[in-house]
Amino acid sequence: MNEPALPLSAQLAVSDFELFGVPAQFVQDRAQLDARWKDLQREAHPDKFASQGAAAQRVAMQWSVRINEAYQRLKDPMRRAAYLCELGGAPIQAENNTAMPTAFLMQQMEWREAMDDATNVAALEALHDDVQQAHKAALQQCAQLIDTTHDLPAAAQQVRGLMFIEKFLRDVEARIDHLDAS
């Protein structure tokens, strides 16, 4: 080949940010991500190569999967933060690193108790709102730590907290569904 481009595997291995042509930072424009995703899929989706033989289909499938993977990661703020921490050498290691600040753990326990005590949907929805506020604040912390102060270990700690918070939000939602249905 006269234009020695990167081999396919190397091309696929560029970071999500490079693939989407956006700056490698926490703050992202969701509308831009959506538009990029569609542009890229329009180039790479297997449907575009439906009439071009099995080899082209295979390559297109690999690209299309890679683009979807990057999109899922970029559009979810928690996963995006985790990804930036890992790229910057501060892996999340959620399984091994469960040490959380005492204040955070106390907060978690209070929330759990509030959920167990709640007997109606309104009380659960109030709790849900509170937790969502905390979620929002933690994301803002991540933005600050990653994009401004570049303190990735601290950001990774925030991400571990976010994982707890998101799990808890799902639990509250499940409880609301349960009460709503009965």
């Binding site: 481009a5 180039e43 071009q52 390559v59």
Partner: protein
């Protein structure tokens, strides 16, 4: 086969090279085939002018078969050998079939999928569906007097992997190149052009002859997300006919004594129902064994007699909305599908419930096939400027059985496809050298409540302490929603890797055997057929390479280009051969020889997309 015409570089390909691509609605009660003609999607009629092919196959004594209308006409006299509604059996075991004791068939439980005993032996639902698909294929080929390039086939949105696989197998058996499987409600939305401009939540209300389906879709920039599906698999226009018969009988006290009476009153009810869609009153007119019966029915009376049925569909709509966590105010529009939606009371009830006027200006029997035809035309490359990008989602979650019969979800439902997702698992006991993997599909937490897709074993794990092995299980879902699973032990340097096809899928050997079986009795000679197909494939590959060279030939060195051109020339020569296997081998060589080129082209496309963005940023 016409001589291949090669256009000058830069010129549009000759219009005669337009590929014949069709959309097929493979329905429970009837099936249709549609194609783009003169820029408009239309359903193709058979020689007698009927576009609807009843989904019925009758197996005859002499190894012959009747398909469609002729089969249906013989249903009453030969019920055991006249197979209808086999779509309900696709990818299903006997235990999955509701009300099976009421069916006239002898169902045989087989691993994977049930079979039906007929006078010519056991028939798989896949084989029966293949007869219907082949009939539609020949109809399309007769219409265009050319070989079929490929088809988009529609499936219900709730079809799981086994049912999709069975549909694909049936198409393969019918000699059809499947360009894509798409969801029926998605096809209906495409027919109405909703993918072009609309964003928002749409309902697709599909009331057919024997089934009712409701789907709630969210459309965002060409992505079709299925938010909820529901319905009633035993509710359709036939129930309206029966309700009308009951009402007439109650009014007139007429006696329905013989089987002929039973079938005649249903025919009369259907005619009366259809007349009432246009007129305020109609005559229920039937010759019974006890004498002629004529009774005038007003639309108001008909509506009252069937109100409970219409209400049942509305309950299902409300349930689907609850499942999607939406209120009726969230619904932007509703697409009407299925012949039974012609009834004014159905239109009115849906409009009243959802507070919007139903989209109904396309023929509701045809709308799914029309949408599939639009997509097929695009996929065949006939509309290079078309913007239709259909990003479907996986309808049901995929997971792995873990300890205690629980499901570990790996690919959540509504993930955009194609996708690949991996999860690491480990061993449970010291020295464990094998791992049994059970792949399931469904939303419930217990394995017993989900559908089992496949079981396979990963062997040859080196003995290690419990929990030390790292087994990565990867699910790959292609653009049709078809699943493949692989497992890899990655820690030890010893790797094992297995890719499974869902257990309901047929192996290539089984398909080959069925093909043999099916065509030894048919008019087509299997060898001639294989040869034709090998030539079509060679053509397809040659044309694809030609258009790739047109578009991106500058990526190649002179040497690589010469090599590819030699492979192309060999492929063109191979078409003159009389040996299908030899033609296939040479076609495959061309495919392999252009793989690196395909990768290069893809890189250029991606870089092109990125360049566009970078300019915007500046």
């Amino acid at each position: 086969m016409a001589l291949l015409q090669i256009s000058e570089p830069g010129q549009a390909p000759d219009p005669h090279q337009r590929r014949i691509a069709v959309g097929i609605d493979l329905g429970t009660t009837h099936s249709l085939v549609a194609a783009m003609r003169n820029g408009v999607a239309e359903c193709l009629p058979d020689a007698e002018g009927h576009v609807i092919l009843p989904s019925a196959v009758r197996y005859l004594e002499n190894d012959g078969r009747q398909i469609g209308r002729a089969a249906l006409a013989a249903q009453a006299q030969d019920p055991q050998n006249t197979l209808v509604s086999v779509k309900r059996f696709m990818g299903r075991g006997v235990a999955d079939i509701a009300n099976r004791e009421q069916l006239p068939y002898v169902l045989i439980d087989k691993p994977g999928m049930l079979a039906i005993q007929t006078r010519v032996g056991e028939k798989s639902p896949v084989e029966v569906s293949a007869e219907i698909l082949a009939t539609l294929r020949f109809r399309a080929e007769d219409t265009f007097n050319d070989d079929l390039y490929g088809a988009v086939i529609t499936v219900p949105a709730y079809f799981d992997d086994a049912q999709r696989q069975a549909t694909k197998d049936a198409a393969q058996l019918a000699g059809i190149n499947v360009l894509r499987l798409i969801n029926e409600p998605t096809a209906a939305a495409i027919a109405y052009g909703l993918d072009q401009a609309s964003e928002g939540v749409y309902a697709v209300y599909d009331l057919g002859g024997g089934t009712f389906d409701i789907s709630v879709l969210r459309l965002t920039r060409g992505v079709f997300e299925v938010l909820a599906t529901g319905g009633d698999s035993a509710l359709g226009g036939d129930d309206y006919d029966r309700a009308l018969v009951d009402w007439v009988q109650a009014q007139t006290g007429c006696v329905i004594a013989t089987p002929a009476d039973k079938s005649n009153v249903l025919v009369a009810a259907r005619a009366c129902k259809e007349a009432l869609s246009a007129a305020d009153s109609a005559t229920f007119d039937v010759a019974l064994s006890s004498g002629a019966l004529r009774h005038t029915v007003t639309r108001t009376e008909f509506e009252a007699a069937t109100a409970a049925l219409t209400q049942r569909t509305l309950s299902a709509v409300r349930k689907a909305l609850r499942d999607a966590k939406l209120s009726k105010d969230d619904i932007q529009g509703v697409v009407m599908v299925g012949g039974s939606t012609r009834m004014p009371q159905v239109q009115q009830a849906v409009a009243d419930l959802l507070g919007c006027a139903p989209l109904n200006n396309l023929n509701p029997d045809e709308v799914v096939a029309l949408g599939a035809a639009i997509q097929a035309n695009q996929l065949a490359g006939n509309n290079p400027d078309g913007e239709l990008l259909l990003l479907d989602v996986i309808p049901l979650s995929l997971g792995i059985e873990t300890m205690g019969g629980l499901v570990e979800r790996i690919v959540p439902r509504n993930q955009t496809i194609p996708t690949a997702m991996a999860q690491d698992f480990t061993t449970y006991q010291d020295g464990q050298t094998a791992l049994a993997l059970h792949v399931v599909q469904g939303e419930r937490d217990m394995v017993a409540d989900c559908r089992s897709l496949a079981r396979f074993e990963l062997r040859g794990i080196p003995p290690m302490a419990a929990g030390a092995a790292r087994i990565r299980v990867t699910f790959t879902v292609d653009a049709d929603g078809m699943v493949s699973v692989s497992a890899l032990e990655q820690l030890s340097g010893v790797t094992a890797n297995i890719t499974v096809k869902p257990s309901y899928g047929l192996s290539d050997d089984q398909i080959a055997a069925m093909l043999q079986d099916s065509f030894k009795t048919a008019e087509q000679d299997i060898k001639a057929r294989a040869l034709v197909e090998a030539r079509v494939d060679a053509d397809r590959m040659w044309l694809a390479t030609q258009s790739a060279l047109h578009a991106d030939g500058d990526l190649l060195s002179a040497e690589d280009r010469a090599r590819i051109e030699a492979l192309m020339a060999a492929t063109l020569d191979a078409k003159k051969l009389e040996d299908a296997a030899a033609i296939q081998a040479i076609t495959e060589a061309l495919a392999k020889g252009t793989e690196a080129f395909a990768a290069q082209r893809m890189n250029r496309g991606i870089q092109h997309a990125l360049a566009g963005q970078n300019i915007e940023n500046i």
